[in-house]
Each structure stands twice: as structure tokens, then as C-alpha cells.
């Protein structure tokens, strides 16, 4: 503690005051609009609450959580969410790595153009993207039915979004187009930062392209991969706008995700306590997943 002892008491006080004054505005917003609601979320999950003006919240202990375990719609939503995560996280990672490695060593202007194109669906915004896909999937006027009949896949109109067999996959496809933008941007910059002297040395030694990629580039872009895994997982877990605008969870709850079912419970059924209990479960799930991914990433690198 040599540093601490050199600081005079007046200085310590000055540091403390300044530190808290600088923190104050940010802490105000953080506590009021993030921490407090988070605690309310956990607290309300133990109550039967409908937020009505005249009704009182009733403490029911773990009953909301018990009900969750037997709620088939919730379990279905959980299953759908996991399907989305399990399918979209690896495909997004592999696809964006492939696209990035194909475009990162082009002429800078060309790389920029491709980067902009693949990032466009993110900027366009989920609502604009979703409404056009809704039209493309429409069973009378949609281009998908025209194309699939044109190539002879089907001979009748398919109600893509209204059919439980296809709806979730349509959602995964759209989610995919809005998810790859950021990973591609990140991979392009990571691949550009790979130490060129190592790559050249390996090539002189007669390494093939595949070997150079796996032995030299892959370890160096590992931190980026890890970051992409984490953000894509979180984004897939939180998939909401697509569901709400495309299918509203239908047909018959077959495309509910946890996030959508929380919304449905709270804003259509007015069961806030029950919705919050689901929120808590989602928090725990994401916390566990992030921890596991970080562990895996740390042990590998």
C-alpha cells in the first residue's frame, strides 16, 4: 500500500467527492431505471399481481414458479427459444466468418460496399424488415409461394406464417438476415488485424490455406468469435419484434418465444406477477449461458 500512504487525507476526501460527483448522473439513471425495476421484477414474481388500481397484490410464494413448470405454453415457448438459439447461433457464426473471409482482402472500397450491404437489414430496423417479409411470405400475394411453385417444390399455396410446420423456420430465416451484420463487420476487422508476418512465415514453410486458417488465423480471432457467440445468443433469446409483428405467437402458440410469452402474459392476460416470474427464469438462463460461454472461451485461449 505505498501509494495509499502517500495520499493525504484531504486528497482522499477530494478523490471520493469527485468520484461520486462524476458518477452521480449515471448512477441516478442506472439505479432508478435499471436496478429498481430489476428488483421489482424479482419481488413481484412472488405475488399474484395484476397491477389493477383497486386490487391488492397477494403474496403466493413460489406458486408462480410452480405454475410455470406445468404450463405447457411456457414449456413450448422455452423449447422454441432454445431451437432458435441452437439453430441461429452456429449458422450466424459460420456464415459471417465465411463471408468476412471472402470479402476482407478485397479492395477497401469493395469490402466497404459488401459490409454496408450485409449490415443494411440491421439499420433498416426490425419493423420495416418484418413488414416486407410478411408480404413476401403472404399466402396469396407473396413471392415465396410464386418461387416455390415455379421451381416445382409445391403445387399449392402454402400459408407459411400460418402453418405451425413452417412458421418458426420463417422467423429463424428473418432473424438470421438481421443478425449477421454485426458479426461480419467484427470478423472483417479481426481478420484484417491478424499478424501478417506469421501468415507469411507459414506460407514460406509450405502451409496450405486451410492450415494457415486453422493454425494461425483462427486462434487470433478467437476473442472475436467468443464475443459474437455471446451477443448472438443474447439477441436470439430476446427475439420479440419479429414474433409480435409476424405471427403474434400463432398459430396456436406454436411460435411463442419466452420473450413474446412474457409480453402476452403481462399485456394480454394482465398477469404481471406470472410474467415477471418468467422474466426471472429468463435472466437465470441467460446468466448461466453467458457464464458457460465465457468459461469455454477462457479455457480454450
Amino acid at each position: 500500500m505505498p501509494k495509499r500512504s502517500r495520499m493525504s487525507r484531504a486528497l482522499v476526501r477530494r478523490e471520493t467527492t469527485a468520484g461520486y460527483l462524476f458518477l452521480l448522473p449515471s448512477l441516478f439513471f442506472f439505479i432508478t431505471f435499471v436496478l429498481v425495476p430489476m428488483f421489482i421484477c424479482i419481488y413481484t414474481s412472488f405475488f399474484d399481481s395484476n397491477m389493477g388500481k383497486d386490487t391488492q397484490d397477494v403474496f403466493i410464494g413460489f406458486n408462480n414458479y410452480k405454475e410455470l413448470l406445468g404450463d405447457e405454453i411456457f414449456l413450448g415457448a422455452l423449447k422454441n427459444t432454445l431451437i432458435i438459439v441452437v439453430v441461429s447461433v452456429p449458422t450466424v457464426c459460420i456464415f459471417s466468418l465465411w463471408v468476412a473471409s471472402a470479402i476482407y482482402d478485397m479492395k477497401p472500397a469493395l469490402t466497404s460496399i459488401y459490409r454496408v450491404i450485409f449490415y443494411l437489414p440491421v439499420v433498416t430496423g426490425s419493423v420495416a424488415v418484418t413488414v416486407v417479409w410478411k408480404w413476401m411470405f403472404n399466402n396469396y400475394y407473396g413471392i415465396f409461394n410464386y418461387l416455390s411453385q415455379g421451381v416445382g417444390l409445391t403445387n399449392q399455396n402454402i400459408n407459411w406464417l400460418g402453418d405451425a410446420r413452417y412458421a418458426l423456420w420463417c422467423i429463424i430465416l428473418i432473424l438470421f438476415t438481421t443478425s449477421v451484420g454485426q458479426p461480419i463487420v467484427l470478423y472483417v476487422s479481426a481478420l484484417g488485424n491478424v499478424d501478417q508476418t506469421l501468415v507469411e512465415a507459414a506460407e514460406v514453410d509450405g502451409a496450405t490455406n486451410t492450415q494457415v486458417f486453422w493454425k494461425i488465423k483462427w486462434p487470433q480471432i478467437m476473442p472475436t468469435t467468443l464475443y459474437i457467440l455471446v451477443i448472438t445468443t443474447i439477441n436470439s433469446f430476446q427475439c420479440f419484434a419479429l414474433i409480435q409483428l409476424l405471427t403474434s405467437g400463432g398459430p396456436n402458440h406454436s411460435t411463442d418465444t419466452i420473450m413474446y410469452y412474457i409480453y402476452y402474459t403481462a399485456f394480454k392476460l394482465y398477469r404481471y406477477g406470472y410474467g415477471n416470474a418468467m422474466g426471472v427464469v429468463l435472466m437465470i438462463l441467460i446468466a448461466i449461458l453467458s457464464a458457460v460461454q465465457f468459461r469455454l472461451g477462457k479455457s480454450k485461449s
Partner: protein, 307 residues
């Protein structure tokens, strides 16, 4: 032999990337051309790839459907003193198509959220990185923990909180939680760690006050980080549909995405009108993005590298 093979691979990869890029552009192309098609071409079972006649009907409908004041300026905090909890409006703009008001609302929301976030996070990140005080570790741990949690779970409790603060159904209700989200503080802290302590020390010895040291010395050094954060916040505020959906209800308070979504719910088969709305919502932000593309890319990568 090896170079030949990789040459062939490169050509195939090039062709594939071009095809993929065209597929990624297609929805946008479909929005823009669709917005100019006549009802007959929109509802034709054989897709019309290029409008045979360009019509403005869809945009006319979009602009005439609903109207709102261009802006409403109200007395700050007046909602706490009126009986109905509504703020007192002292100046209203002329009546314009609601879509224009929605666009203005969205710009205001995203810019205000961006500026507030950058200002508060810059100060807080700097303090956490460079000031030594009791409770610093605890605050930082809280921030990291909160960051790992899904943002949307706080939305249900937020509604109740916003109603009791009389902020429900105001743009502020969307802005404040974005500002409170701790990612920015975390990001700036990573940048501020790089400020050499000696420089701050010498500024202090020269008699510069704490705030002056921050604005004149620390802030210029964390500027790249603040720039990255600004872009990050702007995009995420613009796209935060869920928050807007549950917080904003009356026509004059909607954002453009929300307005289009509501319109879609009410006219679900008028695809021409919906495409006009989507184009109206998407094109301005796409133009901003293409112009500032370099900064966007830098912001996105920098946020990831440091975060």
C-alpha cells in the same frame, strides 16, 4: 496445383458473395419498389419485378391517414401539478401528417438518448477508471452483473414505475432506461484506463479543478470511445421497438417504427401503404448510415474490442 485450386475457390466464393449480397438487398428493393406500385400490381399473384407505372398513391394515403401537431412543447414537470397528470402544452406546431411527427419523435428520442448517455457515461467511466474511492468495486460489480441480464425483463416493472412517475406515454419514458443501461459506463471505463495517471496528477499539481481536468484532459483522450458509444446508442435507441411498444400509446407520441407497426395491424392487407410506411421509416436512417458508414464500422468494432 495449390494455387490453381485456390484460384477456382476464389472465383466461386466471389460469385456466391455477389448472389448473397443481392439476396440481402432484395427486401429493401422490394420495400422501395413496392411503395410505388399500384394496388393491382401489389396484389398480383405473379410478382411484378419492376413497377410498370410509378404511383404516389401509397405515399398520399400514408400522409393523409392521420395528422398530428408537428411538435408540442410543454412546461417541464407540469404533469405533477395538473389534475389529469398531463403536461401543460404552451406551444404546438402546425398540423402535419402524423408520419412526419413520428419521424421527428424518433430523431429526438435517439439523439437525446445518445447525448445523455454519452455525457453521463463519459463522466462515470472516467471516475470508475481513474478515481480511488470507497464503494468503487461494488458499483463496478453491480454494473457488470446488470449488463449480463436481458434488458427486456425490466420492461414490465418499468411500466408501473413510469406511471407513478407520470412519465408513461412520453418519449422520456423510452429515453431514460436507455441512458440507465450500464454498457456505456463499462465501455468508457475500458477506454479511460488508458489515460496515464501522471498527466492527471500534473494537471492537479498545476491547480486545475476536477471538472476542468476532466473536460480538458481526460475527455479528449476518451473521445474515440465516446464516438463509438454515440453510434451504438443511436442505433439501439432507434431500433428498440419493444420499449417503444409498451411505453408509447397516443398517436402524437409514437415513433416511426411503432407508427408503421400500428398501421400494419390496422391495414394488414394494404401492402402498398405498408411498404410506403416502411420506406419512409427506413430510408432516412439508411442514408445517415451510408454517409457515416466509416464511423459506424469503427464504432461497432471498437465497442466490441474494448467491451
Amino acid at each position: 496445383m495449390r494455387s490453381q485450386k485456390s484460384m477456382a475457390y476464389r472465383v466461386i466464393a466471389m460469385i456466391l458473395v455477389v448472389i448473397l449480397a443481392l439476396l440481402f438487398l432484395f427486401p429493401l428493393y422490394w420495400i422501395v419498389t413496392g411503395s410505388f406500385k399500384t394496388g393491382k400490381e401489389i396484389n398480383s399473384t405473379t410478382p411484378v419485378w419492376w413497377p410498370s407505372e410509378w404511383t404516389l398513391t401509397n405515399y398520399e394515403t400514408l400522409m393523409s391517414k392521420q395528422t398530428a401537431n408537428l411538435f408540442d412543447l410543454s412546461i417541464p414537470f407540469s404533469q405533477y401539478f395538473t389534475k389529469d397528470g398531463e403536461a401543460i402544452v404552451f406551444l404546438s406546431g402546425p398540423e402535419v401528417p402524423a408520419a412526419i411527427r413520428w419521424l421527428l419523435n424518433t430523431v429526438w428520442m435517439a439523439v437525446a438518448a445518445m447525448l445523455l448517455t454519452c455525457a453521463t457515461a463519459a463522466m462515470a467511466g472516467y471516475a470508475l477508471a481513474k478515481k480511488r474511492f470507497v464503494g468503487r468495486g461494488l458499483i463496478f460489480t453491480l454494473i457488470v452483473c446488470a449488463m449480463a441480464l436481458p434488458k427486456q425483463v425490466i420492461l414490465i416493472p418499468l411500466i408501473r414505475e413510469m406511471s407513478s412517475l407520470k412519465l408513461y406515454n412520453t418519449i422520456s419514458a423510452v429515453i431514460y432506461p436507455i441512458v440507465g443501461w450500464p454498457f456505456g459506463v463499462f465501455l468508457i471505463k475500458q477506454f479511460a484506463e488508458g489515460i496515464p495517471g501522471e498527466i492527471l496528477e500534473s494537471a492537479r499539481i498545476d491547480g486545475a479543478g476536477e471538472f476542468r481536468t476532466f473536460t480538458k484532459i481526460a475527455f479528449p483522450m476518451i473521445k474515440p470511445g465516446v464516438g463509438a458509444l454515440a453510434i451504438f446508442t443511436f442505433i439501439s435507441a432507434w431500433n428498440d421497438y419493444f420499449m417503444q411498444l409498451i411505453m408509447l400509446t397516443s398517436t402524437r407520441n409514437l415513433t416511426i417504427s411503432l407508427g408503421i407497426a400500428k398501421m400494419q395491424a390496422e391495414n394488414s392487407t394494404n401492402f402498398g401503404l405498408i411498404m410506403a410506411g416502411a420506406a419512409f421509416a427506413a430510408v432516412p436512417i439508411i442514408i445517415v448510415f451510408v454517409i457515416f458508414q466509416k464511423y459506424f464500422t469503427r464504432g461497432i468494432t471498437m465497442g466490441a474490442v474494448k467491451g
